[in-house]
């Protein structure tokens, strides 16, 4: 197994590296600097790390005020707290204001498996991508996390980055070039194309290897930018594959699958199946148990694809 990294630590280190070059960058936390990956930042730049205690609503407002005066705040917290508790501040003070603030949701998806629904985050992409001006990123490995953080720092305007806490392997090469708004074709396949994001990408690739062994021609697309969506790539894929399966550690309501469907239903109606957490309150258990339960483990993805293919065939023959 390749080396595994904690995405929060990768994120925090990258913010520190960028802050060494750019004095405008600040790290903001609400009583969770260590678990948000900011420990090295805090040690290196104690005066540029601002602790706001448990005040997510006001913290977003303070970030907006700082940004309107030339700072680039990176505010990281547990995902529901930084996206939904203060949603109206994100809406008005960041998106509508076009404030140059970067909010980072950590332990996203089902990563807080034992802590239950309040701490898991299955709606963050749905709510944040509904806001004009927002950029929504879900990087898939340490190299892409670093690239997304750099892009966020260089991009003028509000950005939301979604990261997990589950350790993840690196599959990109150091030469990988991330472009905002561009998806990445990891492999092509006629029978079915899997479109996924974030920590689901490497799992999907593992599943794809199994599927290829079974003789299924499977394509894999990674979508590190959920907004703006790579419509050009989606259009191309929809023409080259029979069916699309979107895979996300997020609710099937409003997430990546919905974003893909919204676009393709108008531009090139395509059969799209959404694999994610169904429209229910997620449960508790170990991370791997939850991934199994919602069919998001490697085996879950493999079986979901097989079922889709079977159904497709029965449709043809029936």
């Amino acid at each position: 197994m390749k080396e595994l990294n904690d995405p929060r630590k990768v994120f925090g280190k990258q913010v520190l590296e960028l802050a060494k070059q750019d004095p405008r960058i600040l790290a903001i936390s609400t009583d969770s600097s260590g678990s948000s990956g900011f420990a090295p930042f805090k040690e290196y730049f104690p005066e540029r790390h601002l602790e706001f205690g448990l005040t997510e609503q006001a913290a977003i407002g303070f970030c907006a005020g700082l940004a309107l005066n030339g700072k680039i705040p990176f505010f990281c917290a547990i995902t529901p707290f930084i996206t939904m508790r203060c949603f109206e501040q994100v809406r008005d003070d960041l998106a509508y204001t076009f404030a140059n603030v970067k909010i980072v949701g950590r332990n996203s998806g089902l990563d807080y498996s034992y802590l239950g629904y309040t701490h898991q985050s299955l709606e963050d992409i749905a709510v944040i991508r509904s806001l004009p001006n927002m950029v929504v990123l879900a990087p898939s490995d340490p190299i892409e996390i670093r690239a997304c953080v750099k892009e966020a720092a260089e991009h003028t305007g509000p950005v939301y980055i979604r990261i997990g806490s589950e350790k993840m392997p690196t599959f990109h090469n150091l030469s990988y070039h991330f472009s905002l708004g561009k998806g990445e074709i990891l492999q092509k396949g006629r029978d079915i194309t899997l479109i996924t994001m974030g920590g689901m990408v490497w799992r999907t690739m593992e599943a794809a290897k199994e599927l290829v062994k079974l003789g299924i021609k499977v394509g894999v697309i990674s979508m590190p930018t959920i907004k703006p969506l790579d419509c050009e790539l989606l259009l191309q894929v929809s023409k080259e594959t029979d069916v699309i399966l979107t895979i996300e550690d997020h609710s099937v309501v409003g997430g990546l699958g919905s974003a893909v469907s919204e676009f393709l239903s108008q531009e090139n109606p395509t059969r799209i199946i959404k694999l994610g957490v169904p429209d229910v309150f997620s449960t508790t258990g170990s991370y791997s148990e939850l991934m199994e339960k919602y069919h998001l483990s490697k085996d879950g993805i493999v079986n979901s694809v097989i079922n889709v293919i079977k159904k497709k065939k029965s449709n043809y023959t029936g």
Partner: protein, 278 residues
Amino acid sequence: MEITGNQINNLKQIALNLRRNIVIMIQSGQGGHLGGSFSCIEIIAALYFSTLRCNPQDPQWEDRDRFILSAGHKCLALYSVLAEKGYFDKNLLKTYDSLDSPLPGHPDRHKLPGVEANTGSLGHGLAIGGGMALAGKIDEKNYKVYVLMGDGEIAEGSVWEAAEIASHYKLDNLIAIVDRNKLQIHGNTKDVLNTESLSAKWSSFGWQTLEVDGHDFKDIFRALKNIPIKKDRPTCIIANTIKGKGLSFAENNYKYHHWKPTDEEMKKALIELGMNDL
């Protein structure tokens, strides 16, 4: 430092002009938030014409004092004073609330020079202003940030989160002004949700607090010229005001929080503000 009689007379004339501008906007837009815009006029006049360091020719001047209208529905007062200061042509006032106007029902910083924040939803402004004040401290700038809120707005929890942070970071360049007109949309603030005692609340949050008569320039001026009252502490000025101040029929009447004037009322307003001959 005391304000002179001449300065007071000058400010009184400015306050009258500001109220007149507001009536022009309400006429054009066929309605607007009158009560709260009129209650804060003396405060706004004193800020922009005796206190704020700002330059209408260079609205983004980085050393300017910042004014955030947290109670964004009082935007008529803000538009009025920005026009009077020369941030934009007064003719624009007549576009108030029309399609794509730079003077919408709540202020938008991208549409009008001099507007610092996109307010409207209550309880946002103190945090935004706090962030600006904190940036000023980080950059060792001397500017001050003034945030005007309504007394109904104080019920919002986010106000108190911001108050805690400002106190923690010793933002003595941040000034909250509460326009305490004691009325909100649905009646007396003490009946809707009693937010008293304001002074005790702000003081207990670590703010230096004082009360003024919000229609008395001498009182307002004295408060504004002594900031920070105490080093390292943010200041809260609780301005006791009368909602709808300046129009006899609207004063102290919550029904004029938002005013859709009848012809009769508009005639009366024009007479009371001496606009008939203008």
